[in-house]
């Protein structure tokens, strides 16, 4: 009841001089409006920057099989074959911090099309989710292969821009058949350009096909007895293995390449070279690593104390860039916001001080008819807070409208931020209290006798 009365008095006092109230609020309107617009545009840009850094793979984790060693000679990372497609499925299914993942089977061999040939830097057998993991969603042309293609190990593939250029010489590759190690694959899609990665490797020099197709039709090897150094099935022509047959006695006659390509090996245990997964967000990377380790250790039946037979790599460098960028943007926005609000607050204080001086007689009168200094303090404080809140609300509308306009006309990325809106209301009330307190206190300390006599 008392508050209601004070609020009423304050509102009446403000309404008595609407023009001045409006001008006073303008400081806060512009301040809060600027804050909201800056926050929304800034967050939009920040999100866009984060997104582009993430698309470089900052969220990605690379799971590699462990190291094989023989007689003290280590073969380096990924030289055993412990990762299976089942591992990939289990990771995607059981790790909540993992957004998506893709198994990768690598090969390096020659492409032939229409009398030209080319050896791509990267030939990946995978699932359609690979494009999602690498944030490579939009194809320049055509469409991606499907899970059904993976199941059937269909001979379809996607090619990168470099291959489209070098091998097809400007022709539209869609629907054309190229040969990968003499197996005909139909090009069903062209990837959009991605350029070089951080170490300068051309990411567009790539062929992506269903991993089963690469595994069973191109590499032609699915057995677990080979290690990397001797699994070079792709370059069987120039090895000395036929001159010096050393390893195994062949039980069956060698199949020709055509036979191998036409009859799929139906071996149950297959391995994949890598599993690439993407965490939900950069912050979730440690959690994702923990979950993956747990899942894989269980699936690989590793005893406590036994070393992992796989390793997980994260993109530490990139996630550092990401965090520092985000922090920088946030701090920058905070500075701008603080300065705008400070200016607005000083404006409010200025006008309130003028108002107190101007209304000295009114204050004296109110005191004479029974207002305690507390009542006067509250009246002026409430006036300032009402001004700030009204200004804050108008500012939010203006700022939000402004950022929407920026989005509509300039096509800048904008992100609506409820936090910014809520805190803007809170901050404008706080500004009202902080900057309204001194004038209100000054008013309440007036001596009624002097105030009544004030000219």
């Amino acid at each position: 009841m008392k508050l209601q009365g004070t609020l009423h008095t304050a509102m009446r006092a403000l309404c008595r001089n609407p023009m001045r109230a409006l001008l006073t609020t303008l400081g806060i309107v512009i301040g809060i409006g600027a804050v909201i617009a800056m926050m929304e545009i800034g967050q939009g840009s920040s999100a866009a920057i984060q997104k582009s850094i993430t698309s470089m793979g900052a969220n990605n984790l690379l799971i590699l099989p462990g190291t094989a060693s023989s007689g003290g000679v280590s073969f380096g990372a990924g030289s055993t074959m412990t990762l299976t497609p089942g591992d990939y499925e289990a990771i995607v299914r059981d790790c909540p911090a993992v957004r998506c993942g893709a198994p990768i089977v690598r090969a390096r061999t020659q492409l032939v099309y229409n009398g030209r040939n080319w050896v791509p830097q990267s030939m990946s057998g995978s699932t359609p989710s690979l494009l999602e993991v690498q944030l490579w969603k939009d194809l320049a042309d055509g469409e991606c292969f499907t899970d059904r293609d993976v199941l059937n190990s269909n001979r379809v593939c996607l090619v990168g821009q470099t291959i489209a250029r070098e091998l097809f010489q400007g022709e539209n590759p869609i629907g054309k058949e190229l040969r990968i190690k003499n197996v005909a694959f139909k090009v069903i899609g062209v990837l959009s350009a991605k350029g070089a990665n951080m170490v300068g490797m051309d990411q567009d020099d790539i062929v992506i096909a269903p991993w089963t197709s690469i595994k069973f039709r191109v590499s032609g090897s699915s057995l677990t007895n080979t290690n990397q150094s001797s699994s070079a099935a792709a370059s069987a022509v120039n090895t000395l293995s036929q001159v010096y047959p050393s390893n195994q006695v062949a039980l069956y006659p060698d199949k020709s390449d055509t036979q191998i390509a036409d009859s799929m090996l139906t071996v149950r245990f297959v391995n994949v070279d890598q599993i690439l997964v993407s965490a939900i967000s950069p912050e979730e990377i440690p959690a994702a690593m923990q979950q993956i380790t747990a899942v894989l250790r269980e699936r690989h039946r590793l005893q406590r104390g036994e070393p992992d037979d796989f390793s997980i790599r994260d993109m530490t460098e990139m996630s550092k860039v990401l965090t520092s960028t985000t922090t920088l943007m946030t701090n920058l926005l905070l500075c701008v916001a603080m300065i705008s609000l400070l200016v607005g607050g000083v404006g409010i204080m200025n006008i309130m001080l003028v108002s107190v001086t101007e209304r000295t007689r009114e204050i004296g009168l109110r005191m004479a008819v029974g207002a305690r200094s507390k009542d006067i303090l509250w009246q002026f404080l409430v006036e300032a807070v009402v001004l700030c809140l009204v200004g804050g609300i108008i500012g939010i509308l203006l700022g939000h409208g402004g950022s929407l306009m920026v989005e509509a006309f300039l096509h800048w990325p904008v992100e609506t931020s409820p936090t910014a809106i809520v805190s803007a209301v809170g901050v404008s009330a706080t500004v009202g209290i902080v900057f309204g307190f001194y004038p209100a206190w000054k008013a309440s300390r007036l001596d009624p006798i002097d105030a009544l006599r004030y000219e």
Binding site: M1, G5, T6, H8, T9, R12, R16, N17, R361, E362, G364, L365, R366, M367, A368, V369, G370, A371, R372, S373, K374, D375, P448, I449, L452
Partner: protein, 242 residues
């Protein structure tokens, strides 16, 4: 019993090193229902006495009994309460809030009244007060739309809103022409006679003072004559409230 009783009220201002005594031991009494004029030249301590009587200021020493309470040692907030409940003020320059309707000006003191009044009750009380001063048809006019006499009547209505027993009028006709002065003074008389409100008129105008039944003259911080009405003079040594 006297409504107002002052015993040896002194007020000294300290201007740096020098003490300036303004009231040098004022004793006086006003009974309920009186219409008293307080006269004195400027610098005589008239305004200071007025401020102390109106509970706007505290005396340096002495006793001030108002309506049975010794108020001279009250805190600021307590005195605000006393002003709100027991005292009505009418000023020379009206002191109405600009751009505020007459009705709202009249009901303004109710904001600071402790007991709860609904907006409807406040409105009714304000209208009743305006009717009493004959301005009920001007309730929604702003002060700038009213004549000087009308403004002063609004101020009187405001002073009366809390039904105070005593009304202080500080040069109430100072800004008015003689015709409207008459009007306002007649209203004071009427309030005094019909409603029994004690009125203290502070003035230096003899014509105004002539409307009062008793005139208190103050000179150089001391009351020259008229401190006690004849009826109560005899009871003075008994010490009133003591």
């Amino acid at each position: 019993m006297n409504l107002i009783e002052l015993n040896d009220i002194r007020k000294t201002y300290h201007l740096g090193e020098i003490d300036v005594p303004v009231l040098k031991g004022v004793s006086m009494a006003v009974a309920g229902g009186e219409l008293v004029a307080l006269m004195g030249a400027s610098g005589s301590g008239k305004s200071t006495l007025m401020n102390i009587l109106g509970c706007l200021d505290r005396p340096s020493s002495g006793e001030y009994w108002l309506d049975g309470q010794e108020v001279s040692r009250y805190s600021n907030d307590q005195r605000a309460m006393v002003r709100n409940q027991k005292i009505g003020f009418v000023f020379q320059s009206f002191n109405l809030l600009s751009r505020t309707t007459a009705l709202e000006n009249v009901t303004m003191p109710l904001t600071y009244t402790a007991d709860f009044l609904t907006p409807k009750e406040r409105h009714e009380r304000g209208m009743a007060m305006l009717t009493r001063v004959g301005l009920d048809d001007r309730s929604h006019h702003h002060p700038s739309q009213l004549s000087g006499g009308q403004q002063q009547r609004v101020a009187i209505a405001r002073a009366l809103i809390n039904n105070p027993p005593v009304l202080f009028a500080d040069e109430p006709t100072g800004n008015l022409d003689s015709k409207t002065s008459e009007e306002v003074l007649r209203m004071f008389k009427q309030l005094n006679e019909d409603d029994g409100i004690t009125i203290i008129l502070v003035t230096h105008d003899v014509t105004v003072a002539s409307h009062a039944r008793r005139t208190i003259h103050i000179h150089d911080g001391l009351i020259v004559n008229g401190a006690y009405s004849h009826a109560s003079t005899d009871s003075k040594p008994a010490g009133g409230g003591l």
